[in-house]
């Protein structure tokens, strides 16, 4: 057993893919670094903060990427984004069995301005292209920096999002909300509030992530394999029915929880018997409890 949270992006790859199977595209030795950071006299990284390539997962050819949260918070610059887009495009050309994205990112790398923004939007489109080709896209979120901004949206373009309790997924990050709306709206220093608003358990309960696992590389790998098989069985392409179901889930969320001041109240309204105890539950106990209460695109015409 090994903590997913504690590993670097480069260390996560061999834990998630079949041992020794991963072949990296544009490895660090190729030195494809950000031209923008050098202009700003800022440090660069030889992989621009992302590992992309092709490996085997449970014996199947699966393309993948891992973002390094330690380098500029995993933020997406021009090169970083182009590596993701190129890998996703090649997954379609080579008819991959699936794509596995280990995301950890604050979103757009602001240093690179429009180039970064365009890169993130291209990543979203590329993810949808992969799905349109019938290839499932599986996202894992379990790093210390979470998955925010444009990459939070990109994550939700995937077939399946796998999270740990420690993982976080949202659009605006805590500091952004506090800066824009004031500390009364959201106190970014309140770590318990931050995690119950953006953390894996809340995302699982409200239906934004489909699988929740303990902070363990083996658990992430097993979930990725299960998600890949499930999505291959169901068909990976995004359909109109999928979008309408998702839209229905979001409408019910605003209607039922739009005035809730805190996720604790959301969980109470979902029927969770002891909302205050949720953050303390281990993954297995949480899943057993959450099964009957969690919201999802398929649940409830109420």
């Amino acid at each position: 057993m090994s903590s997913y949270l504690e590993l670097s992006a480069r260390q996560r790859i061999p834990h998630l893919f079949d041992a020794g199977s991963f072949e990296e595209f544009l490895p660090p030795g190729a030195r494809v670094v950000s031209p923008h950071l050098a202009q700003l006299d800022a440090p660069v990284s030889f992989d621009d903060g992302v590992v992309v390539g092709r490996g085997l997962l449970d014996g199947q050819v699966v393309f993948g990427a891992a973002q390094e949260g330690g380098f500029m918070g995993g933020a997406v610059g021009e090169v970083h984004g182009a590596k993701l887009v190129g890998m996703l495009g090649r997954a379609v050309i080579e008819n991959a069995h699936a794509v596995l994205l280990l995301l950890e990112s604050g979103g757009v790398r602001l240093h690179e301005a429009n180039a970064g923004l365009i890169a993130v939007s291209e990543v979203m489109r590329a993810i949808l292209d992969v799905r349109a080709a019938g290839i499932p896209v599986i996202v894992a979120v379990g790093g210390a920096n979470g998955c925010f901004g444009g990459m939070g949206i990109a994550a939700r373009c995937a077939n399946t999002v796998i999270m740990s309790e420690e993982g976080r997924l949202a659009m605006s990050g805590p500091e952004v909300i506090e800066t824009a709306n004031g500390v009364e709206e959201f106190d970014s220093k309140d770590r318990a509030l931050v995690w119950r608003t953006t953390g894996g358990k809340h995302r699982y309960l409200v239906g934004d992530c489909q699988l929740l696992v303990a902070d363990d590389t083996d658990a992430f790998r097993a979930a990725a394999i299960a998600a890949m098989k499930d999505a291959r069985g169901k068909g990976a392409a995004l359909t109109l029915e999928d979008l309408q179901a998702e839209q229905g889930m979001l409408e019910r969320r605003i209607r039922d929880f739009g005035d809730a001041p805190d996720p604790l109240e959301v969980w109470r309204r979902l029927g969770v018997p002891e909302p205050a105890a949720v953050p303390m539950l281990k993954a297995d106990a949480f899943l057993a409890m959450a099964a009957q209460y969690r919201a999802g695109p398929g649940t409830g015409e109420n």
Partner: protein, 104 residues
């Protein structure tokens, strides 16, 4: 940013394996890319550091490193965000060990 170059010529051990990258370019940390290269027996190290004015300290750390490993025909490139000398030494050892599979 400051870029520093070092070259050591008295090495005796070529690097046996493929290029490796260790570490992360984050605050107080660094990444080390190590790869075999035909350098007429030399070991060349390029450092790009966010902390200006520490050339003498880097040189001392690099000299220690070369004394420990005696590498030849090796290129090492470093992207640094203010790592301390101890962290730099540990990362350099980790980089070599990731290629050779163990301590000297």
């Amino acid at each position: 940013m400051e870029t520093l170059h070092f070259r050591f010529d008295a090495g005796s051990r070529p690097l046996p394996g493929a290029p490796q990258l260790v570490g992360v370019v984050s605050s107080g940390n660094l990444e080390v890319l190590i790869e075999p290269a035909a350098l007429n027996g030399g070991c060349e190290i390029e450092v790009r550091t966010a902390a200006n004015g520490f050339g003498a300290t880097w040189e001392a750390v690099m000299r220690d490193f070369h004394g420990r490993w005696q590498l030849m025909d090796t290129r090492i490139c470093i992207n640094d965000m203010g790592a301390t000398p101890a962290v730099v030494s540990l990362r350099l050892d980790q980089a070599v060990e990731s290629v050779t599979g163990g301590p000297p």
